[in-house]
Amino acid sequence: MKSWIFIFCAAAALWADKRIEVVASVPDLADMARQIGGDAVNVISLASGREDLHAVPVRPGFLPKLNKTDILLSLGLDAEHAWLPALADEARNAKIREGGSCWVNCYQGIEVLGVPEKLDRSEGEQHPQGNPHYNIGPQCGMVMAINIEKAFSNALPTRKDYFANNMQVYIKSLDSLLPVLKEQGKSLDGVAIIEYHPDVAYLSAFYGMKTIGSIEPEAGVSPTALHLKKLKQTAKEANVRLIVYNQSQNPRVPIKLAAEIGCKAVAIANAVGAQPQITTWIGLQQYNLRQLILGLTGAEK
């Protein structure tokens, strides 16, 4: 009898100790998953955060990670379309294939910007469902976190309260972050900018910056001399003050263009991990604001 009780207790302890295996496509989602999942989850990120999110180099070593995972967190909106679905299809894990029960699109509920009116490759490499670079928009953090918490609660209902408590703590930190960012970024309101690729839409929307053009003539298309000449002219007319690019984009073009226009080229981060000091999603938002202010005024806030 005693041995049965022991076996039962051991099994219960093991069950109680069960952790959700989580793979996140990008470190932003991995950071939120750790904050919300706490000790009930094991989280890894496939991308390091330094890459172009559309062009993460695929390694076969990703497959065993995906094979064992319970949940795959994805930005969705085709942000990872060039690499993640193919990996998920190969991972011998039906529940995390695109559209599967454990493939979690973290954009659900976000006010999606830039939904194309015309779908045609003559418009470049389009995202039919809208701009997927919402992870650098401070206003999107709450929705991302809610989607992650919901996925964890569904996967491990016995720890639902634990996830809800962690979520409350995280929401508090987000709630206190947004007004501070808004206040510190007041000087960005109305500032005309040029982007490299259409990836700063959510950031611009939060701070009120106006994007008047892109270095890429169409998304994903290399800039041509003629396009840059026209862009220079437009930038001068619109009094562009910042050219915004990120660490995965060729810095030579924005720096040269900024010198010709007489404005500043600013390197922001497109994800957590883009720079060694950016280790959390909140840190990502603070870093990007610092870079923008530094570009605008030459002084850090």
Binding site: D52, R59, P60, G61, P64, R92, A94, E125, S222
Partner: protein, 429 residues
């Protein structure tokens, strides 16, 4: 009157029902699109110039193929893909397979006509290779890339380290190529004869096969059969042998090693064995059959700097291919079987210089797959202008040195490739 009223009400109800049906029908018609498969078309055209036999010659612009791929999930368990290559000589089925990617115990199965899971380059569509001309080791030992009918069962081992093992059974070992060789197929007596037969019947050569006047695909053995096999007494390849010893059996093991997130190395080893690969035509040998083993090993190194992967990256690799095959030899009145073991090595690198430009080089050394064991070599370089992700222009120079067949042929190829619609090569790299 009561009757009329009730009829009126029924008529109104019927009209509402009809309208409801029509509107819901319109809705389902509008949403039927989701059931359509993914469709993509890739155009691959070349201008091929070479100086074989001492003078420069070209057939002008050649459409090597327009590859039409249709694919979709069949249901939650399986995926179906069809690939039809349309060329100037007609259309032919290149791939048609069902894949079951989520079987228990980390298994995956594939059945149908497929690019065999063999070696590094065999699974690539030609337009997805970083160079224009196909590696010659495949042509020498397998008559081209292996598009085979059969079944493959792959198992990803349940470890943290990636190791995948594939076991396969195919109808036979049969290569296929659309790349024309400046040596003009004069590597064996049988193909010369097939060329002559083809000329007689007006068939047009296309890589390792011919297109008949009605557009039908003809292989060397088909042409020989057309000539009632009187022109050659060489052993013939065996088709349609459904006994277990007639099938080709193969396998491949692959793994990868990562040295940080930027450097990785893929390693693989493959083999295919067919016991009854070809059969003698000499009555005195009483239906003797000859076997063939095709084997290989490959290593590919990747350097993808994370922050600038789009602008700079390096891939380099080497692939060894070997063939152990039975041949029929005559010495005076004596006819006997003789097995030759021949090997070759293809190595290459491709360096991405910018988002637009990629350059690279290749070289291969291989023994001729015959008694003479001539040392053949081929080397060259290429530069690719990636206009966008969906179209590129490539210039390739290569030099062929095939002692005993051709000496010092220079070849220039200008290639244009463009893709519309849905097109993906999975996690291929």
């Amino acid at each position: 009157m009561i009757m009329n009223s009730s009829r009126f009400v029924i008529c109104i109800l019927l009209m509402f029902l009809l309208l409801y049906e029509l509107s819901s029908g319109a809705e389902s018609a509008a949403s039927r699109g989701w059931q359509n498969p993914d469709i993509g078309l890739t155009l691959d055209g070349v201008i091929d110039v070479h100086d074989a036999e001492g003078s420069w010659k070209s057939q002008g612009i050649t459409l090597r193929g327009a590859e039409l791929i249709v694919s979709a999930n069949i249901d939650p368990y399986a995926f179906l893909l069809g690939n039809v290559l349309i060329s100037e000589g007609g259309a032919e089925l290149h791939e048609a397979f069902a894949e079951f990617p989520f079987l228990p115990f980390n298994l995956k199965a594939k059945a149908g006509l497929m690019l065999a899971n063999f070696g590094h380059w065999n699974r690539f569509h030609v337009h997805a290779m970083p160079f224009t001309s196909e590696p010659r080791i495949y042509r020498e030992y397998a008559d081209g890339l292996l598009a085979l009918k059969g079944i493959e069962l792959s198992w990803m081992m349940p470890f943290d380290h990636y190791i995948e093992i594939t076991l396969s059974a195919y109808n036979r070992i049969q290569g296929h190529s659309h790349d024309v060789d400046p040596s003009c197929g004069s590597t064996s007596v049988t193909s010369k004869t097939a060329d002559q037969i083809a000329e007689e019947i007006g068939a047009e050569k296309h890589g390792t096969h011919w297109h008949g006047s009605d557009g039908e695909i003809l292989y060397e053995e088909d042409l020989l059969a057309l000539a009632e096999e009187e022109t050659s007494t060489e052993p013939v390849y065996i088709s349609g042998n459904c006994r277990p010893e007639g099938f080709a059996y193969g396998g491949r093991i692959t793994t990868t090693f990562e040295m940080g997130p930027q450097f990785s190395i893929d390693i693989g080893a493959s083999g295919i064995y067919q016991n009854e690969y070809k059969r003698t035509q000499k009555t005195e040998l009483n239906g003797l059959t000859y076997s063939k083993i095709l084997y290989g090993a490959d290593i590919t190194v990747f350097w993808h700097p994370l922050t600038s992967n789009k602008y700079h990256n390096l891939q380099a690799g080497a692939e060894m291919l070997g063939s152990y095959e039975g041949f029929e030899r005559s010495a005076g009145n004596l006819v006997y079987e003789d097995y030759y073991n021949r090997i070759g090595l293809f190595s290459w690198f491709a360096w991405r210089q910018s988002q637009l430009w990629q350059i690279g080089a290749f070289g291969e050394f291989f023994q001729s797959n015959d008694y003479f064991r001539n040392q053949k070599k081929r080397y060259g370089g290429f530069a690719t202008l990636n206009i966008t992700h969906y179209q590129y222009v490539r210039l390739e120079y290569s030099r062929y040195e095939y002692p005993g067949v051709i000496d010092g042929v220079n070849r220039l190829m200008l290639q244009y490739d463009a893709t519309i619609g849905y097109h993906t090569h999975g996690r291929q790299r």
